[in-house]
Symmetry: D2
Subunit: 129 residues, 4 copies
């Protein structure tokens, strides 16, 4: 089940001397996909970079990614906890799965700067997926 | 137990608009610490970027990292499997733990381009830690 | 006169603590525009990253660039010398000019690894602009 | 005449598929050298990232830079105008000049957010070089 996809054209400077895309660039792309997904929720989901902090990141490098062909990064699930949100993202190139990433974000009360329960409206939006 | 440390001076461009160091820069620093560790093994461990591929990455963001003070990234364990090597790295700033990362690398036969058993010499070096 | 444009969606990690896009990210975008332009020439122009080396870069930061809106990077001229090629690129956001960059590339003979005259076919293509 | 040097250990992810350090990483290193220089002035010079905006950047790539050996980035001159400051930085690897960069910064009044004359105290410090 695909929730939201973003197309990423690998950039030459994202390669490294091994001739493929460096792992740090892929971690960066994952942020692109996560934020795009949160922004797509609109309202409470947007302002995403500011409403959420990243608690952890898990990335499996399943196959090499190369310069020269687009990568599709798809958020395949987004599961709310109380204040946390677990987002899974898969990347593929030439329809071959290359990367699977899982990020745990924490919803923040921006005034009090501490974790806060994900609002019901946003929770319903996420449940609809 | 500290195996090997590298000091990283955060760079201004590694911050983001939230005012702290961006997660993608921290993923990149983890590569710096891993490769430095492998190179410190010398001989079979070095040529590290070419002898090993990154299979997975897990990063816990325990506290924010800021521009303006050095970060100490320490490899705290390196556990060999058959062809895999699990490296744990902790980062701290102002003696406060900020990041814990675990990477699983796979030792590659560079000619055949497939996983190969970690050589005994290197295995002994790793066991000595 | 616009030769070739590429749309760049600023990424959150490309911001810095001043709240705008960092200059180093803009230098990186300029590479994206240059390589896309050279690849668009096809044939002799492509393999661009390998056929050309970057001799110099001049970037004027005319206005700040922000996260949240697309940037259009347009190659506005590409002037061949003997073995050199001068590419001018303008970037705009919300139709406001933000960046003007000039890069001087040198066409390389890949076997001999030294500068070589830009081939006539490619020269004609460039002249047509 | 050397004003201030910073040692940069090239990072593996800063290489690209051509096997050398990518130009965008070198633009980023230039920021490291500039900010370090401004911070070294202390007082009015510090808070550098916030007191100054980058107006333009000129980088000559004189020789390739490679992974595996330290780069020394030295600010060789810093010439104040009225509100502008022109900083020249040279980078070398293995004592061979690889990069020469010139940046024009503009001193900002942070409250009014417009260019302001470089304070006399800072001007004298710069003149002492």
């Amino acid at each position: 089940m695909s929730i939201d996809s973003v197309t990423i054209s690998p950039r030459f400077y994202e390669t490294d001397a091994l001739g493929h895309i460096n792992n740090a660039s892929i971690a960066a792309w994952f942020e692109v996909a996560r934020i795009r997904f949160l922004e797509s929720l609109g309202g409470e989901g947007s302002e995403s970079a500011r409403s959420w902090i990243l608690a952890s990141l898990q990335i499996d490098f399943i196959a090499e990614t190369f310069y020269g062909s687009d990568v599709i990064a798809t958020v395949t699930s987004a599961t709310p906890g109380n204040s946390s949100l677990t987002i899974v993202c898969e990347m593929s190139q030439h329809e071959k799965l290359t990367v699977r990433g899982t990020a745990v974000l924490v919803h923040m009360d921006q005034l009090e700067k501490k974790p806060s329960r994900i609002p019901d409206g946003l929770r319903e939006q996420l449940g609809a997926f």
